[in-house]
Amino acid sequence: MKNTEEILQALKENFPDFSFELKSDLPVEGFIICNPLVIDKISHFLHDNPELNFDSLINLSGVDEIKANQLSVYYHLESTELKHKLVLKVVTDRNSPEVASVTDIWKGANWHEREAYDMFGIKFLNHPDLRRILMPYDWEAGHPLRKDYENPEFYQGMKVPF
């Protein structure tokens, strides 16, 4: 059982080159902000280190932070053995969002990442099968959960608005 500060310490020791930032001023949970392009290496460490042993990715959610002109991804990790939890956040540019994929560490991330791609257009590098998942494959109007998304008038001849 480790808390977020201890995990941050372990991360800083192991990856002296990478930048980490702990945010714990907002309710309810604190989280660590890391670099989007090395999140796979960090995840490998978190997964394989026997003292941390984060064997399960419970949730992965994309967020559109339009005011800061950035997209972010939250990772909720949990260790079923040691029973501790961790929230990671990566921030990427809104115009060319690129995040390293964690699919080969936690296979369950596959569809979560596809969903984030579908909804926000975040490109996950090295993802085995990055396609739309919920929206039709031929949906051309963009990524619907972005705050500036506008719905098309017609899709395949069907009127979309009420």
């Binding site: 907002l26 309710p27 309810v28 949970e29 064997d55 399960s56 990715l57 419970i58 949730n59 959610s61 994309g62 967020v63 559109d64 939250y74 909720h76 079923t80 029973k83 929230v87 936690w106 296979k107 369950g108 596959n110 569809w111 979560h112 909804m119 739309r132 998942i133 919920l134 929206m135 039709p136 619907p144 959960l145």
Partner: protein, 377 residues
């Protein structure tokens, strides 16, 4: 003389498209099966046929308005969805709810768990070809729906558990009727076991089919009965208790591989039956301890949380249901992401089905018990 080259029969993989309209895809799921004869070489699920834009609605609605939409995600376990949302929101707002509310919530969630498992078990029987247990399960489920109906007036989608309270107090007859139901229901579990669980053909069809090892399950993020069937005692009600679950005495049934290997389809099926018995235990205890009080006293007049984010989770019948809510300080959430158990669980289908036959795809798909409303949201 036979020319071996030209006489060789050209073979190719057959791609069978199962769904979106298929009797046993449990909704509008489409599976693309690559077959060699009847043996599966690859399964590709295609989802999104029921994508109802839940998360977009959350960003446009105020916090209390979201509750009815949560109902419509996992429509077999609406009470569980509402409870999950309420737990997450109360964590974000930092409010305490009266004990009576918590007890009623637990009773409702457990009744809903039984109802949901009944549908899962019944449709599983129908998938395997035994149609009669399906109707027996629906008959018993109807009794639970009656209990919900006298409480809040709805049969399926309740809008009952609100942030900070409940929409109605219990009906005066509720406690008596629930006790009656428990008394009636116990023998029907045995009936279901006799007609389906211990049937030789049923065991042959499900045992040793679709074995899910614990390591793979955790790596994929599988939770709930599917994970427990693989032999690990992981239940959020015990491991990360919410509401008043820590006050009750109940077991966590796990798969034991009685008729095959641990984590096969039969285990996943039988864990659900055992869970129904445990739920009955919890309901009985909760009815005995049910305190008095006002169920609406803690409902906030205006929900306007501070900026921040929360991940609240509950043990739904299908596994861990989590709400990740980001608030920007206004009356509507900035972002809500739902960690839907079926969404995560369905990913393992391709892993489980490889090398089995078409009939086994149905067996495995039925045993992991998905609800499309929750997968697509």
């Amino acid at each position: 003389m036979i020319n071996t080259k030209s006489s060789a029969i050209r073979t190719e993989e057959m791609v069978l498209n199962m769904g979106p309209q298929h009797p046993s895809t449990h909704g509008v799921l489409r599976l693309e099966l690559a077959l060699e004869g009847e043996i599966i070489t690859k399964v590709t699920p295609h989802i999104g046929y029921l994508h109802r834009c839940f998360e977009k609605h959350c960003e446009a609605m105020t916090y209390p308005q979201i509750v009815p939409y949560t109902d419509r995600m996992d429509y077999l376990a609406s009470m569980g969805n509402e409870l999950g949302y309420a737990v997450a929101m109360e964590k974000l707002l930092g409010i305490e709810v009266p004990q009576r509310v918590e007890y009623i919530r637990v009773i409702m969630a457990e009744l809903q768990r039984i109802a949901s498992h009944l549908v899962a078990l019944g449709t599983y029987g129908a998938d395997i070809g035994a149609f009669t247990p399906f109707l027996y399960c629906f008959r018993d489920r109807e009794k639970i729906l009656h209990l919900f109906e006298i409480t809040c007036g709805a049969r399926l989608l309740y809008n009952y558990i609100w942030v900070g309270g409940l929409s109605h107090d219990l009906h005066p007859d509720f406690v008596r009727k629930t006790r009656d139901f428990i008394k009636e229901f116990k023998p029907t579990i045995k009936e279901l076991n006799d007609i389906l669980s211990y049937n030789k053909i049923f065991i042959d069809r499900t045992a040793n089919v679709g074995i899910l090892p614990v390591k793979t399950a955790i790596n994929f993020g599988v939770s709930g009965p599917n994970l427990r069937a693989s032999g690990i005692k992981w239940d959020i009600r015990k491991d990360d208790p919410y509401s008043v679950y820590s006050k009750f005495d109940f077991d966590i049934p796990v798969g034991k591989g009685t008729h095959g290997t641990v984590g096969d389809s039969w285990d996943r099926y039988f864990v659900r039956i055992l869970e129904m018995e445990e739920s009955l235990k919890i309901i009985e205890q909760a009815l005995d301890q049910l305190p008095d009080g006002d169920v609406q006293s803690a409902i906030p007049k205006r929900i306007k949380p501070n900026a921040g984010h929360v991940y609240g989770r509950v043990e739904n019948p299908r596994g861990e249901l989590g709400y990740f809510i980001i608030s920007d300080g206004s009356t509507t959430p900035y972002r809500v992401k739902v960690r839907a158990p079926s969404f995560v669980t369905l990913q393992i289908l391709g892993e489980l089905c490889k090398g089995y036959m078409i009939a086994d795809v149905i067996t495995i798909l039925g045993s992991i018990d998905i609800v499309l409303g929750e997968i697509d949201r």
